[in-house]
Subunit: 328 residues, 2 copies
Amino acid sequence: MKIGRRSIFLAGSALLASPAIIRPAIIRPAMAQPATTLPAQTPGFYRFKVGSFTVTTVHDGFVARPLEGFVRNAPLAEVQGVLRDAFLPQDRMVIPYTVTFLDTGRDLVVFDSGNGVTPAGATIGRMIANMRSAGIDPAKVTRVVMSHFHGDHVNGLLNAEGLAAFPNAEVIVPEAEIAWWGDATNETRSPEGQRANFANSARRLAPYAARMRRVGPDSEVIPGVRSVAAYGHTPGHTCYHIADGAEQMMFVADTTNRPELLARRPEFHIIFDFDAVAAEATRRRIYDRVATDRIRVTGYHFPFPANGYLTKEGSGYRFVAADWTGAV
Amino acid sequence: MKIGRRSIFLAGSALLASPAIIRPAIIRPAMAQPATTLPAQTPGFYRFKVGSFTVTTVHDGFVARPLEGFVRNAPLAEVQGVLRDAFLPQDRMVIPYTVTFLDTGRDLVVFDSGNGVTPAGATIGRMIANMRSAGIDPAKVTRVVMSHFHGDHVNGLLNAEGLAAFPNAEVIVPEAEIAWWGDATNETRSPEGQRANFANSARRLAPYAARMRRVGPDSEVIPGVRSVAAYGHTPGHTCYHIADGAEQMMFVADTTNRPELLARRPEFHIIFDFDAVAAEATRRRIYDRVATDRIRVTGYHFPFPANGYLTKEGSGYRFVAADWTGAV
């Protein structure tokens, strides 16, 4: 038990180091019990309903990257000010990853695949353990629905052995996305920082070649799930609208990175955007829709549990987390 | 497994009810595996550090009560508008309960005691199970530090047998709080809705009589924890400031109920306030301090994990949840 162990260590070392110091310490026999393995942190998953559907968001960890250069078209101090308003670190950009699962009763869907297997000590790659906590078996996933082909979204398609991490799933990809990254002649027409995506996405998708389906914009992916074109972040970046009965939500993927920074300031252009001008226009269009219609959203880089709403505020939007409840 | 079972049931009943309907259903042998017991929802606890101290917030559930009459000095429609802006229900007042634990290395402290044992089916009383998930043994708690004596804060002092739920703990109570509720002659001078607190708090505190300590305002409770007078919600309502090294936080208890409603509109007076005018003045004083100094707060009725910051906005404050992280 973490609390117990810490207490024992601190009390023990204080006694050893300075036996002459008298403190009004309470010696509790109960503290001497053997430590058991209990979690340092609560498991990173969260469940809620959309009609009769069950959505589970599963955390895949975070990275901290240099803040300098992250936003291309604003001074560092201005970016830091927005992060400060959100009580986020201002000396680095902390990017969380949270994957959305959907159980429709007939299908178990995962939207994008997480960072997959990462080296020991990495702060990403938590999805597999958190799926286990959530009771989600990758072998039971029937559809992997991709928003786009950036590494942090496709890398989890392979397991540690380099085989299909979702061995029984069909993979559904946006037509415009595979048209771009599947054609090597586009490589020289892509931003330099994005060129690795050609080889990487081909390798990650390879085991699924025989069970891949392309979807166009505004198409039914499976009953209750429709594609929503959201091009800009990548050539075929796609959101997914989910509806059952009177309830709806949208997986907004990378329409923005962290909303505390980029929903507040939709005019900020970040280094990961393939076409930042198109990405900004898409961001405003999608967020106007979900804000106007008060549609629940999940986002890939939203603060865990990555589940809430966007509301118009000033010239941007504010993310409002949905109320947490133990009653699913 | 919840997801697995639902899928099986839906697929099975569809087949039985309408065998003639042909659907493009995927039959997956893996779905027929026996269900295991996995959580419907992630356990309700969350950990973070304040210097070398470890704080754990533990969820105790929620109640839904009539919204009408909850705020005494504003029209219902105005209250509903504030809730709507926060994407909260507008036809009822959902009040969550989250209890703050502090491990200083020498003491395991709980601030208030939760709702305790509740009837089967109640939406409150989850703290005991969530403490277990968090690895917190009530027998190892060394101090129970009370903010005030309302039932939802003192009821958990007793276990199912009516004995001390924290059998090895000292109970620390605000001097002004026990002075009021410990003197029966104050009963007729208390608002009618608050009179049950006299008998109830006496009964809940009884097993701890021999190990109770009274603290005045602005006093050291234990090393690293100081009392902060916050009178109004009750005659002795007290917050606690926690500091270790350069880091600090404040348990603001019931300085407000849900911050989405009452931090946004500090002028709202609610039915649970003993002296609503004093409560409002206290609310503004405490929240001005934590907003100005950017002090992390936990609150008893804040949205789980009840951990974040208050920032000035307009004539009120906005609660900003601290960023969730799996890396404690």
